[in-house]
């Protein structure tokens, strides 16, 4: 019985994940090195940016949930709403930018390379 239960995810497509009977697809596919990662930053008056925490971005300490939240908001054309939510968490007068950064993740982690492109999806001030 337990064998049938735990192996039942094998009957589904690997990408068809659920809980608690997972197909465990999270590390299975080749993601490649080039990625467009959605995030949100605080735009400082000097023109530089500060990274925001998952808690400020999505009200959670889970980075993956924060990442998915930004990604889905952009995909659903809700970047402005998300930007406003983040600005409200950040405080009055603070400028927020929801954006997609194009990065070579291997170069970023191994050699501290900068993003090759940044596309701003929404800006707002709290």
């Amino acid at each position: 019985m337990a064998t049938a239960v735990v192996l039942s995810p094998l009957l589904r497509e690997p990408a068809s994940d659920t809980y608690p009977l997972s197909t465990y697809p999270m590390f299975a596919s080749d993601r490649g090195a080039d990625h467009r990662i959605a995030t949100a930053v605080e735009r400082l008056p000097a023109g530089t940016v500060d990274r925001l925490s998952p808690d400020l971005i999505a009200g959670t300490d889970e980075v993956i949930l924060a990442a998915v939240t930004v990604q889905r908001s952009i995909a659903r054309s809700e970047a402005d709403e998300l930007c406003a939510e983040i600005a409200a968490r950040l405080g009055a007068g603070r400028a927020v930018e929801v954006r997609v950064e194009t990065v070579d993740v291997v170069a970023l982690i191994a050699d501290d390379a900068d993003p090759t492109a940044i596309h701003v999806e929404a800006t707002c001030v709290g």
């Binding site: 337990a2 197909t23 990274r51 998952p54 950064e101 291997v106 982690i109 501290d112």
Partner: protein, 291 residues
């Protein structure tokens, strides 16, 4: 199922199951208490983010806040009661159901986590074993062991189904480690300080990928001999330590060894701390039988 000659002795079965109950339920109690604030974050999530999964997939909208808050409060209390052996026929099913509920609800906001699956499944097995009448509970240890090795096997097969043998050359692993750490950096989380070093040692990633696949695909061997179980559990622990060091991903249930405990002679742990356990009615078979 679990080829461990020690389990021919009913006393060993009772003791191992008691230790497993204490370990799993205590873990669930601590985890749900520590994570309660993060779990309650869901109350502030916008409804548009709700994406129910698993046992809650039938929901169309988020549940009333009060119901979820109640479950978040009940879970550590019931799990603690289960751990100390209080009214097991009541507290074990409540702990299992509430843990399953709160973790499923937590997973219903757009991202599936993979750290609590085995805890939830082990709690269900224990709850059934502690709720039904009858003295032979060997099946529960077998079921928990099968669930443990089965999750690793499914994860290994997923890699083969999605990437084939290409997963073994190390490139997939390189990209996974880099992506996971990069996402953490861009979203203001803590990334691994060792990931950059590993990525610069390209020759290490192929053997690391092969070793990961060996741990996952050979997991069922742990069911065949007690010695295999110890050897595989050691490898699995090393696997999770490597994930923590190079990806800053914590699988606490596995790293503490609790996920692997059904495969191991943890009844010896019970004997070691028997005087303490007896104070909480944990060491005897009576606690299992009377609930």
């Amino acid at each position: 199922m679990l080829a461990d000659p020690r389990l021919a002795d009913p006393m060993v079965i009772d003791r191992r199951l008691t230790v497993l109950r204490v370990l799993v339920a205590a873990y669930a109690a601590v985890w749900s208490a520590v994570r309660a604030p993060a779990l309650l974050d869901a109350l502030d999530f916008a409804d548009r983010r709700f994406d129910p999964v698993g046992p809650l997939a039938w929901l169309n909208s988020p549940l009333p806040d009060g119901l979820f808050v109640l479950a978040v409060v009940v879970t550590p209390v019931a799990a603690l009661a289960m751990a100390i052996g209080w009214r097991l026929r009541l507290t074990a099913p409540v702990a299992a159901a509430s843990f399953m509920f709160v973790t499923t609800y937590r997973n219903s906001w757009g991202q599936l986590f993979h750290t609590e699956n085995l805890v939830a499944l082990h709690l269900v097995v224990l709850a059934i074993a502690l709720s039904v009448r009858g003295r032979d509970r060997r099946w529960a240890i077998d079921a928990m062991a099968v669930l443990t090795v089965g999750t690793y096997l499914v994860a290994g097969i997923a890699k083969l189904r999605i990437s084939g043998t290409a997963w073994l050359d190390g490139d997939v692993l390189r990209h996974q480690i880099a992506f996971d750490n990069a996402r953490k950096e861009l979203l203001g989380d803590v990334s691994s300080p060792f990931a950059g070093w590993l990525l610069r040692q390209g020759w290490l990633l192929g053997p690391a990928a092969v070793m990961s696949m060996v741990v996952e695909l050979l997991a069922p061997l742990a069911l065949l001999r007690a010695r295999f179980a110890v050897a595989w559990s050691t490898l699995a622990l090393g696997f999770h330590i490597a994930i923590l060091v190079f990806m800053a991903i914590l699988f606490p249930y596995h790293l503490l060894g609790i996920a692997l405990a059904p495969l191991l002679p943890v009844e010896r742990l019970g004997a070691t701390v028997a005087p303490w356990l007896r104070r909480f009615r944990l060491g005897s078979t009576t606690s299992l039988r009377t609930g």
